[in-house]
């Protein structure tokens, strides 16, 4: 007969730098149930929209998350632009695409490093973050910031990339591609790594659909949904297909993310080849009135920006549904029946961003 015990997990945990608390109900070494508890870092950024006007709020939106800061700013801007009926210049659309994909590479590299750290492969962790450093340098070179880029504004972009810069970036990207291929071999082919990832934390296609999972977590279970296909920024002109895997375990999620890095490099190459000349911003006149729900594909999955404006310079409501919020129920499902020792890796494979979740 097995005894049940409850083990508290987090909010401070060596593997997770994010403040999530779980009450794990264990039966011997197996997890039977997990009850999440969040709310340690609620900052009330949605409430701040009452104090900042709709153009200033871009700076707040960027600060929702440190990893997807570009996409948060862009998603908010696209939502307001849609309400106001602003058509941004084509060059700005391409710039948004390029910076978006750079963010995706940087986020996935960060995740790969954290995953390596979670199963105790410290030098692999260092290698991943070393590659990521090049992307951060590219960001600093092109936008002036390493974490908060401040290049989005309503009506376009605040900075431009010239031809020389893009050319230089293509060379750096080739280097990144070659280096990622080397570490991908370890992530996907190493026996020790495989024994930690394969067959752990299955999520079936049906479960992923029912529990509303998003992003690579969902695509690793075989659902080919990618909001970039909705056609914001310059994605309609770019040729790509959602990366999926049919397996649905931790290994599949790692595989999907690694393939997405290569896909992002390919998208940046296509965008840099097609980028048209011209202005990067249009002047904004008038005030927004109306509501819109903008869906953006972030590195972690689908993010939703609901903006409701009332014709004044202060918005009525901004609501951000971040990908981790949608992935929590799926994560709880995969935790059921897993080994206690696998819990940190399982939580990590949804790429949790709790401060995003609580905003």
């Amino acid at each position: 007969m097995s005894t049940r015990s409850i083990v508290p997990f987090g909010p401070q945990h060596p593997v997770l730098p994010e403040p999530i608390h779980l009450d794990l109900v264990l039966e011997d070494e197996k997890v039977v149930e997990a009850v999440p508890s969040i709310g340690f870092v609620h900052r009330g950024l949605e409430k701040l929209v009452e104090k900042k006007d709709f153009q200033e709020y871009v700076y707040v939106a960027e600060r929702i998350c440190g990893i997807c800061s570009f996409m948060h700013g862009m998603g908010y801007c696209e939502a307001v632009e849609h309400i106001m009926g602003i058509e941004i210049p084509p060059r700005a659309k391409y710039l948004r695409t390029i910076w978006c994909e750079m963010s995706r590479i940087h986020s996935h590299m960060l995740w790969l490093g954290l995953l390596a750290d979670a199963f105790g492969f410290e030098s692999l962790f260092m290698q991943s973050w070393r590659i990521r450093e090049k992307i951060l340098d590219m960001f600093e070179y092109s936008t002036g910031g390493r974490v908060i880029f401040s290049v989005n504004k309503i009506g376009g972009q605040r900075k431009d990339m010239d031809g020389d810069m893009l050319k230089q970036f293509m060379e750096v990207l080739s280097g990144i591609e070659a280096e990622t291929k080397v570490i991908a071999k370890t992530f996907l082919g190493d026996k020790a790594v495989n024994s930690r990832l394969r067959g752990v934390g299955f999520l079936t296609k049906q479960q992923a659909h029912d529990l509303g999972a998003v992003g690579p977590f969902m695509r690793a279970s075989g659902i080919a949904l990618d909001n970039r296909k909705l056609g914001y920024a310059a994605y309609p002109d770019i040729d790509f297909e959602p990366v999926t895997s049919e397996i649905g375990d931790c290994y599949a999620r790692c595989d999907v993310r690694i393939r997405e890095i290569f896909q992002s490099i390919d998208i940046i190459r296509q965008a840099a080849a097609k980028i048209p000349e011209g202005e990067v911003a249009v002047p904004v006149k008038g005030l927004p009135d109306g509501e819109y729900m903008m869906r953006v594909e972030q590195p972690r999955g689908e993010a939703i920006y609901y903006v409701k404006a009332n014709g004044t310079k202060f918005l009525d409501r901004v609501r951000v549904r971040t990908p981790t919020f949608a992935n929590l129920p799926g994560m709880l499902e995969t935790l059921k029946g897993c080994d206690f020792a696998d819990v940190p890796i399982l939580i990590l494979t949804i790429d949790p961003c709790i401060s995003c979740t609580e905003r």
């Binding site: 200033e56 340098d137 370890t186 082919g189 190493d190």
Partner: protein
């Protein structure tokens, strides 16, 4: 699946010079666009107050009567909004970051009274807590 996948990386690392730099002994080279901190060419300032109104955090105060331009260094988020909106283009972004400090402090710049003198602008620094 294979063994010894990482050996190549390990050997490359062994015979490779370090990728890190010896900061702070070696100065860090910032790219041109780095948003470090806001600087002002105070002799050109017309004290219109546009930077203060456009600052999303309200870190800039402009006193027209005293001809004083004040910034809270740790209130500033380095977004560059003031630099873009300055009508005289006398604000600029410097590449070096504000130095860490134990207290929040304000930095003030006062325009010298006679514009004919060629003295360097007087820099006044007031340290203290900002509530």
């Amino acid at each position: 699946m294979g063994f010894m996948n990482f050996t190549k990386t390990v050997i490359t690392n062994l015979f490779h010079k370090p990728v890190t730099t010896a900061y702070p002994f070696e100065p860090e080279a910032y790219p041109e666009r780095t948003r470090g901190k806001v600087g002002i060419a105070i002799e050109q300032c017309i004290f219109c107050g546009m930077c203060g109104r456009k600052c999303p955090t309200g870190a800039i105060r402009v006193d027209r009567a005293e001809k004083r331009w004040t910034i809270e260094r740790f209130g500033c988020i380095q977004c560059g909004s003031c630099v873009e909106n300055c009508p005289k283009k006398c604000l600029f972004m410097m590449q070096n970051y504000p130095q860490p400090a134990a207290d929040k402090y304000e930095e003030s710049f006062v325009q010298p009274p006679a514009p004919a003198t060629e003295e360097a602008p007087k820099k006044e620094e007031t340290k203290g807590k900002v509530d």
